[in-house]
């Protein structure tokens, strides 16, 4: 597998590993049967993600994209974070091998899933933002 140096860096030295205790939001996607699961926990203050941590069961690119995605959303406003796409994460990692692109969806979905729970809990879903959660209904693996 030809991974970029950035992928290898985020795989070998993943940032934001762990679980935030008393997290404000948390989301888990994927399943062990399919070979990847990501759990993300967020600390949110004043509509801004002040901390993000992840745990991932999965291949190299699943772990690297988890690491990069949490980096990318830290310090972001919630609606900015919601606009995070797997493509952006992959680009930030210097690209992923084509057959691995689907793995990057896992991170996007996990972040969205955490935010959806948070939005629901805080009644933040509006007509303007609800489409951002659309993709969540699909299983990440259907999107290959």
């Amino acid at each position: 597998m030809q991974y970029s140096d950035q992928v290898m860096d985020h795989f070998m030295n993943p940032r934001n590993v762990g679980e935030i205790e008393n997290a404000d939001a948390s989301g888990t996607v994927g399943n062990a049967k399919c070979g990847d699961i990501m759990k993300v926990t967020l600390k949110i203050e004043d509509g801004v993600i002040v901390d993000a941590k992840f745990k991932t069961f999965g291949c190299g690119s699943a772990i690297a994209t988890s690491s990069m995605a949490t980096e990318m959303i830290k310090g972001k406003k919630l609606d900015e974070a919601l606009r995070l796409t797997n493509k952006a994460v992959a680009e930030a990692l210097g690209g992923l091998p084509p057959i691995k692109m689907h793995c990057s969806l896992l991170a996007e979905q996990a972040v969205k899933s955490a935010l959806l729970a948070y939005y629901k809990e805080h009644d933040l879903i509006t007509d303007e933002n609800k489409h951002l959660f659309d993709k969540l209904d699909e299983d990440a693996h259907d999107a290959h």
């Binding site: 290898m8 888990t28 070979g35 759990k39 745990k55 991932t56 999965g58 291949c59 691995k100």
Partner: protein
């Protein structure tokens, strides 16, 4: 950072060509390059080498040289044996028996035949990967034309009871094919007692070159050609012979057979030490495949809570080259059919690691690897949402 020493531990995938083998091949590319079908000296010299190579391969399995047909790989041999038999006997019957853990070359070939109206019985295996010979007997029907069971499995190393299966097939007068691609050169093969009608071989698994294989076809077995063409291989496989490759294959096979007692013992000991050390060092580890009835060089673990590709990637980073049955490695969605075949749940199968030793493997590389592997597994488990934070050392074998 200094580059780590590369330790190749994927000899089931392919092996380097041995120096002695390359030496006999070298003059055959640009100097003695004749076409064995040609009339003049250069051609006849090639013909002589070919004849000699056929004799050598025949000797390795106690066959007659007229029963040896060179092919381009193990896959071609498997396809030829199975599709050829199907074609030859389709008027007699359309039922084939095979196992659930065959190599893709057999598996996908049988699936192709299924699409063409053949009926395939996919025999299950036990948790060690063994096919039950009695199950073969029971699966035989009046319209059964072929049984194809591999001699040794490429992922978990389990050695199948092919002699018993062979004698059942003989008794029932059913043709028996066995894929010996992994077994050849590692375990003794004697066609006089094996009871197989067709046996597949591949050179690159036994320190010969890639792109060469053979099919043993017992005298009297009718097998239509897969590759029609010139009169090569006694009119049964067209195509100008890959003389260099064939000569290399024969030499490699001969060396492997003559060194087998020593190599086999050495590898088995190293393998057992390695298995013991890893099981002791890393909790929640399962050894896949048969505990003793396995290829001398094969090790296959499942590490619970983590995924195989990420193990490979870290190992590669540290210089160890191995393989996995994880879906992510192959680019497919399901983990290895072999690991599922021995009853592993998907999530455990995903976390598998195959380590296959070889001639150049040294004990110290393996003992160093135990340490590195422990660290890698621990690191990945720390990353894993499945790993219970309060996990104590337990034996995964009790859980699966």
């Amino acid at each position: 950072m200094q580059k780590p020493k590369r330790v190749y531990l994927d000899h089931a995938a392919t092996t380097p060509v041995r120096k002695e083998v390359l030496d006999v091949m070298l003059p055959l590319f640009s100097e003695q390059f004749g076409n064995p079908s040609s009339f003049y000296q250069t051609g006849q010299e090639a013909q002589r080498l070919l004849t000699q190579a056929r004799q050598t391969v025949a000797d390795c399995i106690h066959a007659d040289p007229r029963e040896i047909f060179f092919t381009s790989c193990g896959t071609e041999s498997d396809n030829w044996a199975i599709k050829g038999t199907a074609e030859a006997l389709k008027k007699k019957g359309r039922h084939i028996i095979t196992s659930q853990i065959e190599h893709h070359a057999v598996l996908h070939t049988c699936q192709t035949l299924e699409k063409q109206g053949f009926d395939v019985t996919w025999l299950p295996v036990d948790t060690n990967g063994l096919v039950d010979p009695e199950a073969v007997r029971q699966a035989i029907r009046p319209d059964t034309i072929l049984v194809s069971i591999m001699m040794a499995n490429n992922e978990i190393g389990t050695i199948e009871p092919v002699e018993t299966i062979g004698s059942i097939c003989r008794e029932q007068k059913i043709l028996f094919h066995t894929d010996a691609v992994q077994a050849a050169g590692s375990v003794p093969i004697d066609v006089r007692t094996l009871g197989a009608d067709m046996i597949s071989f591949s050179a690159h698994k036994l320190y010969g070159p890639k792109g060469v294989g053979a099919l043993y076809v017992r005298k009297g077995v009718r097998l239509p050609n897969l590759l029609d063409g010139g009169a090569q291989e006694n009119n049964r496989r067209g195509g100008t012979e890959n003389v260099a490759g064939i000569v290399g294959f024969a030499h490699a096979f001969k060396l492997a057979v003559s060194e087998m007692p020593v190599t086999s013992q050495r590898l088995t000991m190293m393998r057992n030490d390695f298995i013991k050390s890893v099981m002791a060092a890393i909790p929640d580890t399962r050894l896949n495949g048969h505990p003793v009835q396995r290829l001398p060089n094969n090790v296959n673990f499942s590490f619970k809570y983590i995924e195989g590709e990420s193990i490979l990637l870290m190992l590669d980073h540290f210089g160890y080259e191995c393989s996995s049955g994880s879906a992510c490695t192959s680019g497919s969605l399901d983990p290895s059919h072999v690991l599922l075949g021995i009853g592993l749940p998907h999530e455990i199968a995903h976390g598998s690691l195959r380590v296959t030793l070889g001639r150049e493997t040294e004990a110290e590389d393996l003992s160093r690897m135990v340490g590195d592997l422990s660290k890698i597994v621990a690191r990945l488990r720390e990353l894993s949402p499945l790993y219970p934070a309060d996990r104590q050392q337990t034996d995964l074998n009790q859980h699966v």
